[in-house]
Symmetry: C6
């Protein structure tokens, strides 16, 4: 859907409601990178290390092996602690990325981090500074974000889509005949890249996310 | 609706408005477990011990007997007290689950627990930590949650669906001819399991929840 | 609409906007009980004793007589005072109910009581404890509740429908041709009882609430 | 539209947006009373004495004369002062009504009074006590109320319609072809009186409010 | 659209979103007055003196000349200062109007003044007192007001339409075929005057606001 | 779409959601100016200097060269710092503009600046004073603004569209058949200039923003 692929060293966000496969999307992004000789890191605020590795394994992606081979780091952080130490994480990020040699980074999810700040101004400033650090770290990053309750095209806190180079929207399409809810993906923004604005159906299968590029939703 | 059944040791939530049968859903989940040789626990913040046992009894599920046989624990807690002592409950949970040998746990409802925290940040942190403890306790848990007033697919506080491995949505479908309100169930998310995304009609009968897998809503 | 009638000793709520006949509904519930040899109590936060007796009288229900015969108590309370002394009311309720021998109780309306608490957490806790006391008092209770401004199926404060055993929704149906607004009733929940989910038209007549069970709304 | 007319000594409210003729409605209510030998009082928080008399005069209602004949009192109050002294007004109300012999009272508008209380709980308590005093004063009262911005059937603060014996809704009906906005009146509630629930068109003419009882809106 | 024209010495408000021509409407109102021998004053909180004069000039209205001839006063005020000194402005208003002999006054916009008060109660009281002073000043006043974001028929703060004698609504009509957005004007209220309730298209041309009285929107 | 082009020395805002090409719009505005012999300045709160230059370069606009030739200034500011020093920026602005000789200025985005003020009144006053300074600086300015989450025609904070001379709305049009999301542009306001009110489709191509003036959206 993106001509020439995702731009290197860009910061992207996947916005979606519960069950739209945001986490799978992130795991797959890393697996593809590692298959192509890139190193990656998966930072999760939602799951334990074991659950992440297990989830990937069930899709046939040998994360355990990747970790042992030094191609992958999986880090489970407590969101409260991450929020409290975000300024030091921010400062150490470039060095950590460089030392490990990560070219792909996933943070699942930025919403859980955002939620830890009660004061709106603090949240905005912290997230702004954090995205700036990510852009400077020389790594291609995919953030996952929960969707706004009322607007599937907006993120929960309505700011991250403005601070990223690209926005992918995952959402439910519920036909009026109540038959079967479908999943639809749309690229809303990729800075400096041409991209289709078509809404495409996708499924979460045993092998990961499958986008049906030739099909239309209905 | 789930291929291979609900994953063991996962944390699930049933979201539904008043009268959609969330509690019945939870009772039935335990009854099925006990019929298959599993032990279970029902924690209620909404009803008394007697009402829970009576409600199950009217569906033909001998909860009194299960309790006497040591296969079931029914605990009625005051939500205020539960909220106040959540950190100690959290700490003791794994031990309690292990000692009793519970493989299935129901909490009815997580919304009433969430409501007891006035401060949003405290609520999120407490619920986050609580779900983490539940995941670690080695038990398959079903939480019930009230639905958002305006969005039947979201929980009342909009967070629990992001912290669970599975989400079941129970909701009303009101046809335009005002004839009869129907009940519809949809699985929104099951982590690491294939599941149908079909919306299926169900009824609350004398025997519990009956999902009509072959039928469509209209 | 309920097979086998309303369960004894249950707590029910009637949700409806202004003018949907909630109060008439409550008066009629007591009149029916008294006609069948049950004693009843009507607690009003909205009207004076005289207005309640007069309103009933105009429907042909001799409340004055019922009071004199010791079959009915009509109590007009100030909502502020009721809110302030709710914990003592709660404590004395079982004794009062037992002494008077009331089998049916109406509180008109719970919304006015809820409104007296400005702090959400206090309101929830007070209402939760109050409904628990009502359930324990050994009496069948009908609360009336104002509807949410935007959602006729939800109560004004969005909590009472989750704490009761049954929910009856009274609402306006406004046809698109602007002809005549109609009234429609729907049972949303009756715990442990089968009930129809049909929406039925009703009218407020000189004889009280008349539900047209055989008719459809349009 | 009301069988047998408006009940004596009841408290009614007219809800409507800006320009729906609420004030005219109130003036006309008094004029009709005076024509039938009743005395009346018009309390305005929105206009000066002169403007009220002039407005009535333009409809052909000789309010100046009524005042001189002792059949009418027109009082312009400052809403801030009225709010501040509401408890004493409340106490003196029955005596004032009795001394003057008023049988009809109009307050234009209750919304402006409600607005003067910033604290919701204070507002509710004050308005509740005020409506109780009005009911006890032995006078038929018409309050005017602004409509909720989003719901023409609800009052601005969403409480007065629950505290009154009758509710009249005045609203705009905007046809989809954008031709001409029409005015429509509907009686939402009259306690202890049968009333039509038809929506009827009306106009504000040189002679006051004209309801077209035989016509339909479209 | 108003039979017999706008009533003298009345207070009117024009409600409209950005770009609906509220300011042009106000300039034109003054120009028409001056052409008919009336003096006028334009108070702007949004533009500089020079921009106002220039804007009028581009419509062919010689405001510079009017000012020099003593027929027009154009005053640019800082909204913060105006809010801070509103009580003294209010007191001096009648004298200022009388001394200058202004018969028409425009304030562009009342919303910017309203915004300067953070506290709702203060805002309401200040605006209420201000409108009362304007009514007493013996001048015909046109206020401009921003529209509510969600409801084009309501003002931004939802109070000014209730305090004025007349309300003119300017709004966008966006046809479903996405062709061309049109502008529509509707008189919502003129106290003591008959007025059409038709929605009429208008345009902002080189000569000012042009209402097409014979045309319909579609 | 604007007859005679954008008025010189005016203040304009482009409102649009994430991915609608607001930044590209701003870059193109400067490139066109420089091609016609005007100097320009690009102030970004969202990107680094390098990213701005790179983004322009990919559209074929040699910003690096423009900077070296002294025809362009690209300044990346931290929004927190800009907010904190806005009053001094405001004071120095006219001098800076004059010294550099800039005739076109872009600020990307005003929303990020607005967000830095937590207090609404402070935000309004600061933004009001800032727009006034921009109008006085003798430069044609294009601000970019995020759109309101629920209303694509309103800015995020709902004030900037009232303080500018022109408003351009960029938005998504999502056809009901879910095929392809399209982009649409509409001029909402240009003070003192005639402009079309047609909604026109546009695309973000390798060469920048392309508006299809002859085409309709559907």
């Amino acid at each position: 859907m993106v001509q020439g692929g995702i731009p290197e060293r860009s910061l992207l966000v996947t916005i979606g409601g519960a069950g739209t496969g945001k986490t799978t999307f992130g795991l797959q992004f890393l697996q593809h990178g590692i298959e192509n000789g890139q190193k990656g890191a998966f930072i999760t605020l939602e799951e334990s290390y074991d659950r992440v590795v297990q989830s990937a394994g069930e899709k046939g992606w040998p994360f355990e092996e990747h970790v042992q081979n030094g191609n992958l780091a999986v880090v489970d952080l407590d969101p409260v602690e991450m929020a409290n130490s975000l300024s030091s994480i921010r400062n150490e990020l470039p060095q950590l990325v460089e030392e490990f040699g990560a070219e792909r980074l996933v943070l699942d999810s930025v919403s859980l981090l955002e939620m830890m700040y009660d004061d709106q101004a603090t949240r905005r400033t912290e997230i702004y500074d954090f995205t700036k650090a990510l852009k400077n770290a020389g790594v291609t990053t995919f953030l996952t974000s929960e969707a706004d309750q009322d607007n599937p095209f907006a993120s929960r806190h309505g700011i991250i889509e403005y601070l990223t180079d690209g926005v992918v929207v995952l959402r439910y399409v519920r036909p009026e005949d109540f038959r079967e809810t479908r999943l639809a993906v749309e690229i809303q923004k990729i800075r400096d890249a041409n991209h289709s604005r078509e809404t495409k159906p996708y499924e979460i299968t045993n092998d990961g996310i499958s986008v049906y590029r030739q099909a239309n939703i209905f």
